[in-house]
């Protein structure tokens, strides 16, 4: 059983390392917009109407989409964008949620009640509404600043995407952290450390955080794939990653629209779905491994 776990961990690590390397290292090339005259490897937005909807071949290893764009190039860039979105959203949720939850639990009383009611209210807001408001606001800002297109607009779109995903992801984390903190506060070893004269910051760093790390990391590992899926949904609504920029989520979504009983164009749907699924499983396995690793009672057995 133990060796099975180890193999799983190694597979997950190897897969993630490969994906990250492949997508991030090739970013300068995949993002470049030059070389669109048909010679050499094509970039993500170079269209070829003649070669539309070709199945995988030596010229296009992953086939082409409806506009004849190389799916290999689009998958590489899309992977980079999806991973960055996932990691940034998880990072935002991790920092914001942990701090919010810890502050609420440590302050206690009215501050705690107020902080948690804010979380409740944000939970109650439909996230789609939030996204639409954000999209409209962003449109207005862009008009006011006369930003039509280009890199600045792209960055603004991505920024709004992080806000929209991050605004939802940290809520559950704040609740998890607060609950964990409340139960930690009643543990005798916390009192014991306090009477031993351990200061407030050392208390947080050496006594609270190591105990929070397990559940928080396990949960954060789950936020990454959730954010990647949310990004696909939000891109569909017109916020975040916009055409012609690809992401795994939007590639899968467009692949799904090509699904019909007459002709099954699997190369549009299967690669993004498989990669999303494998990334999700790998992150979960690694999150769990990390959690076990941080618990000395289980680290001995592992």
């Amino acid at each position: 059983m133990s060796s099975g776990h180890r193999t799983g961990r190694m597979l997950a690590t190897a897969f993630l390392a490969l994906v990250v390397l492949a997508t991030i290292v090739t970013l300068p090339w995949t993002l470049s917009r030059t070389g669109e005259n048909g010679t050499g490897p094509r970039t993500f937005e170079a269209t070829h109407p003649v070669m539309a909807l070709q199945s995988p071949s030596w010229v296009d290893p992953l086939g082409t989409d409806r506009l004849g764009r190389s799916l290999a190039a689009r998958m590489l860039l899309g992977g980079g964008i999806s991973l960055v979105v996932g990691v940034c959203a998880a990072g935002t949720a991790l920092v914001l949620g942990t701090m919010w939850g810890m502050l609420a639990a440590m302050a206690g009383g009215r501050v705690d009640a107020l902080a948690m009611r804010i979380v409740d209210v944000l939970y109650g807001l439909p996230s789609v509404l939030l996204v639409v408001v954000l999209a409209v606001a962003l449109e207005g800002i862009c008009e006011r600043l006369s930003i039509e297109s280009g890199t600045a607009r792209m960055m603004l779109d991505l920024g709004a995407l992080f806000v929209a995903i991050g605004a939802v992801g940290w809520l559950t984390l704040a609740r998890v952290v607060r609950g964990q903190m409340l139960s930690l506060k009643t543990r005798p070893f916390i009192d014991a450390a306090r009477v031993a004269g351990v200061g407030r910051w050392r208390m947080i760093r050496r006594y609270y955080l190591p105990h929070l790390a397990g559940p928080v990391l396990a949960y954060t590992a789950l936020i990454v794939p959730t954010a990647m899926l949310a990004e696909a949904f939000l891109s569909f609504l017109g916020i975040g990653v916009r055409e012609p920029l690809p992401s795994w989520g939007s590639l899968a979504a467009s692949g799904l629209s090509e699904l019909n009983p007459v002709r099954f164009r699997w190369w549009l749907l299967v690669p993004p779905c498989v990669l999303i699924a494998c990334t999700l499983v790998s992150l979960t396995v690694l999150g769990e491994a990390l959690r076990v690793r941080l618990d000395p009672r289980q680290a001995d057995a592992a």
């Binding site: 070893f189 009192d191 031993a196 351990v198 006594y207």
Partner: protein, 307 residues
């Protein structure tokens, strides 16, 4: 020696509820060992927690004051009180299984407790010395171990070593020996004696009347949140003035007798009705007008002003 800690007319109660501890007064002198005895729920632990500034949020201090070497702590915030912890007040907790941080090695935790004394310098040699003084044969191995690898008795000894890490002037030990075997218990008591001989005052909460007779200098007997009797250990335990102390002693199991008697029947009702030194009858929970009176030879008895 000088008075290290003075508890003066302390009253504790549940916020908006019952009073749990009332009129508790005693003094701890430097270099002395004091035992605080009484049945479960008599307010011993609460008294200790309030001295350490660790009262649960549901409990409040109603009145009274605690003096640490002549400084009143009544107006101190809990954060300021916590700054006393370690160097001025050391606390040994009751539960050895949960009072150690499971994700830190013994050495790391002991060094955290030591920081107050050394000002942050790592002091690995001190850890093995301190553990050796607690009777560990192989302190180096214990030092590297995680808490879950140690037995209850070993953890309790580690906790004692941690509480003493910064040479506190006042040591509060809340039933540190309750779950221990006889050998470890005498070891812990010996270690506390060593601390007393360097000038610290030790307050030990315990149920073990047999071993405190020889160990303690002073005994405080509590019942229902009040001090029944207080005085030199030998005098109080051999010649109790309060019928409750006598009843408690009669219930103590010995090798010779069974000791399995009902406390309600062992407390002498006649003695409860007999005035002490002409001051009033011994105090009992159903009587009002509590007062702690001096009866000579450093002895005090709780009596009731009302007939």
């Amino acid at each position: 020696m000088s008075v290290q800690l003075r508890v003066d007319d302390l009253a504790l109660g549940v916020r908006g509820g019952d009073t749990l501890v009332q009129h508790v007064s005693f003094e701890l002198h430097g270099g002395t060992r004091t035992a605080l005895v009484g049945e479960s729920g008599s307010g011993k632990s609460l008294t200790v927690l309030s001295i350490a500034g660790l009262l649960p949020s549901a409990i409040e201090q109603r009145s009274g004051d605690i003096w640490l070497r002549g400084t009143s702590l009544a107006s101190w915030s809990s954060a300021r009180r916590r700054s006393l912890c370690g160097t001025s007040i050391g606390v040994v907790f009751q539960e050895p299984m949960t009072a150690l941080n499971p994700v830190m090695t013994i050495e790391a935790q002991m060094l955290e407790a030591r920081r107050r004394f050394t000002g942050g310098a790592a002091d690995s040699a001190w850890v093995s010395d301190a553990l050796g003084a607690m009777g560990f044969d192989d302190p180096r191995r214990v030092q590297q171990a995680w808490p879950h690898l140690l037995s209850g008795g070993m953890r309790q000894r580690v906790l004692v070593a941690m509480a003493l890490a910064a040479n506190p002037d006042v040591i509060l030990a809340d039933e540190p020996t309750t779950a221990l075997d006889a050998l470890t218990r005498s070891l812990v008591l010996q270690r506390l004696t060593t601390e007393a001989s360097r000038g610290a005052s030790v307050l030990l909460v315990t149920h073990d009347l047999a071993s405190i007779e020889t160990w303690a200098d002073q005994v405080i007997v509590m019942r229902a949140g009040h001090v029944c009797e207080c005085g030199p250990a030998a005098a109080v335990l051999n010649d109790p003035l309060h019928p409750y102390t006598a009843g408690l002693l009669a219930c103590t199991p010995t090798l010779a007798g069974t000791g399995l008697v009902d406390l309600r029947t062992t407390v002498d009702a006649d003695a409860l009705a007999r005035p002490v030194d002409g001051h009033g009858c011994p105090w009992w929970p159903d009587k009002g007008g509590y007062e702690l009176i001096e009866v000579g030879n450093d002895r005090q008895v709780g009596v009731s002003r009302e007939p």
